[in-house]
Amino acid sequence: MRFDWSVVWANAGALAGGTELTVLLAAVTMALAIPGGILLALMRLSGSRLLAGTSAGFTELFRNLPLILVIYAAYYILPITVGVAFSPFATGLIALCLNVSAYNGETFRAGIASIRRGQSEAALALGMSRWQAMREVVLPQAVQRVLPVLASTWVSLFKDTSLVSVIAVGELAYTAMRIRSQTFRVLELLTAMAAIYWALGYPQAKLVDWMNRRFGVSE
């Protein structure tokens, strides 16, 4: 077997473009799924049966469906039900947000539950409302505490963005696979793809580890 790495260098521009889209997709998904997750957790803990039930239903639905199915469903069903044709990027983004928000919701719920009751009592005793106690005292501690979990969700998400290649979003996996089918250099492109995902993913994981050590709560 002979390798021809020139195919990788020849398509470096396209791979870079795909990489850029992968990073963008992961970043925008997380930027939306963090508030989404906090919202789901607050709904779940709100004490309102309707809000808690809605949140639980959403979470259990999207946490237990294969992501690829959600992506296909968003691609085929969303335009029919909403009547708007989204771009493949927006469709993939929506599917990822549904999935990651569900995971983040559970993460934040566990984080909020792990803050002992005395903390919110101390806030209430100062005269804060329940919402102020949550915003000023409980949430900041909960967010710090779940940073490592968010980090591993982020690293999974970064790789899972490759699944949206099935609806022709031109991110890294799709771009690499497209070049493969044009050049038939399978191993070279798989290797390049692996190298790029790993080289980007590993430092991110390390960075978040460092953030966790730097900003972690100690009592």
Partner: protein, 252 residues
């Protein structure tokens, strides 16, 4: 010290009852706290002292009877209860400082969030209170870097920042190392001397004896005896009071 019965009544408890499931935490408690006086609640663990304190600022809701602050019954709805809580400072056994905020930010958090004071003003007030509890040099420290006694002094400053009419202390020295208990007690003593109205749940009998104007002895959710410290500690009228004190090794 002795009780000044002519001073205005700040807190009135009338037949206050509270149950947790089958457990009767408060079985009809009636007492009064007058302005500027220090009332110490003593008695065995689980006798209802802390529950009474927590009911006073609405962290627990009473099942029967009533609690009046300045003659007005505590409200039931959360919004009015919040307004009432702002008039009472609470100090917890486990300090409950906010670990993600500096000492200064902890003290400023009430004025900033609840009273919505300008940041500058809230911080000036917080700095002055840290100075008052002897921790001006620890303003930038996080709770994790403070000793237990220092944390509790910050917690006292945090409660004072809301300029409360009455301070509630829930076993403020029970979680402290022996060598830091004194610094907290002397802050409390200074506060009492300034005329702060204080309701203190404590196991520090020396403090109760020296600082309290009135001592209330709890057992099984009820008051078994109350009176000036001289009576409680030197000549208790009730045998159970004497028994409780002797268990603590109190010899007068």
């Amino acid at each position: 010290m002795s009780r000044n019965d002519t001073a205005a009544v700040v807190l009135t408890y009338r037949d206050v009852r509270k149950q947790f499931g089958d457990f009767v935490a408060l079985a009809g408690v009636s007492m009064e706290v007058h302005k500027t006086e220090v009332v110490c609640l003593i008695g065995p663990s689980g006798s209802g002292k802390s529950t009474l304190l927590r009911c006073t600022n609405g962290l627990e809701i009473i099942d029967g009877g009533e609690i009046l602050l300045d003659g007005c019954a505590l409200p039931r709805d959360p919004r009015s209860m919040r307004a009432v809580r702002q008039r009472m400072g609470m100090v917890f056994q486990n300090f409950e400082l906010f670990p993600h905020k500096t000492a200064l930010a902890n003290v400023a958090s009430g004025p900033l969030t609840v009273m919505r004071l300008p940041r500058r003003e809230a911080q000036d007030r917080a700095a002055a209170l840290l100075e008052k509890v002897g921790l001006a040099d620890k303003a930038a420290s996080y709770p994790a870097n403070l000793s237990g006694g220092q944390q509790q002094r910050v917690a006292i400053a945090r409660a004072l920042a809301m300029q409360p009419e009455v301070m509630l202390f829930d076993e403020p020295t029970s979680a402290l190392d022996p060598e830091t208990i004194g610094e907290v007690l002397s802050v409390m003593k200074a506060l009492a001397e300034e005329g702060m109205t204080m309701l203190v749940v404590t196991h520090e009998m020396t403090f109760a004896r020296r600082v309290a104007d009135h001592v209330v002895v709890f057992e099984r959710g009820a008051i078994i005896e109350q009176g000036p410290p001289k009576q409680i500690f030197d000549a208790p009228l009730v045998g159970r009071t004497r028994e409780f004190l002797s268990h603590l090794g109190w010899a007068g």
